[in-house]
């Protein structure tokens, strides 16, 4: 299993599309690692500088409909190349969400209220998130603040994460 804990990158906007996560001009790359420098290069987000703000982050917390648009799995690969294996959002576009689990990564949906609370309490502060995958819990911490949030994940998605993705799962089963 991959690592699902680390410092948090907050992206305070809904509808971040896969063209913003990884622009089409980089889709000519055929290695996942080559995508690393270009993650979130075209994102429209006030005050955000991908070169400065992505480094050292391993978890993304964002708003609604993350990963909409193109089916490009290059979006999760660009995250993976930056050691980001967990995205938490109010909800996801279908293909992006499936791509995450298919790669053995996690896309977790939390209620709009919970996401809102997390943004209010932690956004703008150096924040760490610890994932307890067995007990379905995130422990979010910053200076003097500690919050535990439970999440749910389906058995099917859990199996994909445990086996490392859909190729091995499907080839063994079908």
């Amino acid at each position: 299993m991959k690592n699902f804990s680390g410092n948090v990158l907050f992206l305070d906007r809904s509808d971040i599309n896969t063209d913003e996560i990884i622009p089409a001009k980089y889709l000519t790359e055929i290695s996942k690692q080559a995508l690393k420098p270009y993650l979130l290069e075209d994102i429209k987000l006030e005050g955000f500088n991908p070169q400065r703000d992505v480094k050292g982050k391993h978890v993304i917390i964002t708003r609604a409909n993350f990963g909409c648009g193109s089916s490009r799995e290059h979006a999760p690969w660009a995250l993976e190349a930056n050691d980001i294996h967990l995205v938490i959002a109010e909800n996801f576009a279908r293909i992006f969400r499936q791509n995450m689990f298919n790669c053995g990564m996690i896309a977790v949906e939390l209620s709009g209220q919970t996401i809102d609370d997390i943004f209010k309490e932690f956004s703008g502060k150096e924040t760490h998130l610890e994932t307890n995958f067995e007990n379905n819990a995130f422990i979010i911490t910053t200076d003097g603040l500690h919050k535990e949030v439970s999440f749910s994940i389906s058995d099917f998605d859990r199996a994909l994460v445990m086996t490392g993705g859909w190729v091995e799962y499907a080839d063994a089963k079908y």
């Binding site: 809904s14 509808d15 599309n17 063209d19 913003e20 622009p23 089409a24 001009k25 889709l27 000519t28 790359e29 055929i30 996942k32 075209d42 429209k44 609604a64 409909n65 909409c68 648009g69 193109s70 089916s71 490009r72 799995e73 999760p76 909800n91 996801f92 576009a93 279908r94 293909i95 992006f96 499936q98 791509n99 298919n102 790669c103 389906s154 058995d155 099917f156 199996a159 993705g165 859909w166 190729v167 499907a170 080839d171 089963k173 079908y174």
Partner: protein
């Protein structure tokens, strides 16, 4: 309890039901292009699983960057070409025979009512126009599709979009779908299927239905779908005539997939389009839509007519009708890319290409290039394009460029005026 067309297709293809909301279905076709497939091929090779489930059910095209624009795109084509050869994939469309996947594959008769189709391309939803379940997937799903001929989906919960009335002159399927996306929002149909019904859909050609279904994903939908009818049969007849005694019996077979009158929908939206106006997007999301007249006098630098949304012969005919005998503005550049060799040839034979060229348009070969800012019409920073494509995302057609999505008629009128313009101004 009745079932929707999507539920019937799922029931006919289900091979596993690993949990309540997950269905693993058998695939009738797996479509491939050179952007998302090479990584799947390389991964299969590295896993020691370089196999295909059925070479006759895999259809391959090089379309996104064609001809190759640099070494990297040349390598993508090479990987695909060699892979198709070593697995005896006969339906491989290389340059000269290639076109935009979602325009080319329907023309070849590869999609039939009741089929299940995946492709590593979000606009695969286009093929739902034929009464098939067709969905875009990522590279890993594509890889498993190639290897095992299966894919996993959530239950096909459906939103019915009932389109009533009659489309006014100068208003097209593109205007209808832009309006529907505006109503639903970019997240309004996530994990749902949009089933398009009603007299306006019944009266539409297959080309228009493809335009409608093509943009279902822009509302977040897994797919769009239309119930197959005689229009579907007529379009497919040359490919299916050996399987059916006559057109009526083909129709009767396909009608088995029709949604039942008592099928259960997640939501039913009715809209009368009799007073719909030509629509255009503003901003960076495809649900930011308003009537063209409210955007009139917006200056543009480039006009693009083409893509899997609006690069078919019907679209070229409409645009040429507006352009006939007129010149495009000196302040704009016009680019038209017929989406397939067949559409290109038809446009040539019907004098449509001449009309485009006489008006000042550049005619390019079939390719996806400009739509996603990869080749054949990339925008510079600060430039504005009126485009018949499907996405107005920030940077989509080139970093710092602005895209306004329109119908081919509006695109042609805009080319003449140099400003976003309603095609009614250039009527007759």
């Amino acid at each position: 309890m009745g079932r929707t067309i999507a539920e019937k297709i799922f029931d006919a293809h289900r091979v596993d039901h690993p949990e309540k909301d997950i269905h693993v279905i058998r695939l009738d076709a797996v479509f491939c292009h050179e952007i998302t497939t090479p990584v799947a091929v390389n991964d299969l090779v590295s896993r020691g699983k370089d196999r295909v489930f059925d070479p006759d059910k895999i259809k391959v095209v090089i379309d996104h960057v064609s001809p190759a624009k640099d070494s990297k795109t040349a390598i993508q084509g090479k990987i695909l070409r060699e892979w198709a050869r070593r697995h005896n994939i006969r339906d491989f469309f290389d340059i000269g025979r290639n076109g935009v996947c979602h325009a080319l594959f329907p023309e070849k008769g590869f999609v039939r009512p009741g089929y299940t189709v995946i492709m590593g391309d979000s606009h695969t939803c286009t093929h739902g126009a034929f009464g098939a379940f067709a969905a875009g997937v990522g590279t890993t799903d594509l890889e498993v599709g190639i290897l095992k001929g299966v894919c996993a989906f959530r239950s096909p919960s459906t939103i019915k979009i009932d389109i009533a009335g009659r489309l006014p002159d100068g208003v097209f399927a593109k205007d209808v779908i832009l309006f529907i996306i505006h109503r639903l929002g970019v997240n309004g149909a996530t994990n749902k299927i949009l089933e398009f019904t009603g007299p306006v859909v019944d009266a539409m050609s297959m080309e228009s239905r493809m335009t409608l279904c093509n943009m279902a994903v822009e509302a977040g939908a897994t797919s769009g779908i239309c119930n197959p009818d005689m229009t579907t049969v007529e379009y497919l007849w040359e490919f299916i005539q050996d399987d059916h005694a006559d057109k009526e019996s083909a129709l009767a077979t396909f009608e088995n997939f029709h949604s039942d009158p008592d099928a259960r929908y997640d939501q039913i939206i009715e809209h009368d389009v009799s007073r719909l106006e030509p629509m255009v997007t503003f901003g960076y999301k495809p649900d930011q839509v308003k009537p063209v007249k409210e955007m009139a006098s917006t200056k543009v630098d480039q006009i693009y007519i083409g893509s899997c949304t609006n690069g078919r012969i019907e679209d070229l005919r409409v645009a040429a009708q507006v352009l006939k005998g007129k010149k495009i503005s000196d302040s704009v550049r016009g680019i038209v890319s017929p989406a397939t060799p067949k559409a290109f040839r038809q446009a040539m034979e019907e004098g449509i290409l001449k009309t485009f060229m006489d008006s000042g348009f550049c005619v390019t070969n079939p390719t996806c290039g400009a739509c996603l800012g990869m080749s054949n019409g990339v925008l510079a920073e600060g430039e504005v394009c009126a485009s018949t494509t499907n996405r107005n995302f920030n940077g989509r057609m080139g970093k710092g460029g602005m895209v306004h999505l329109v119908s081919p008629a509006t695109a042609a009128a805009t080319a003449i005026a140099g400003l976003i313009t309603n095609s009614e101004l250039y009527k007759g």
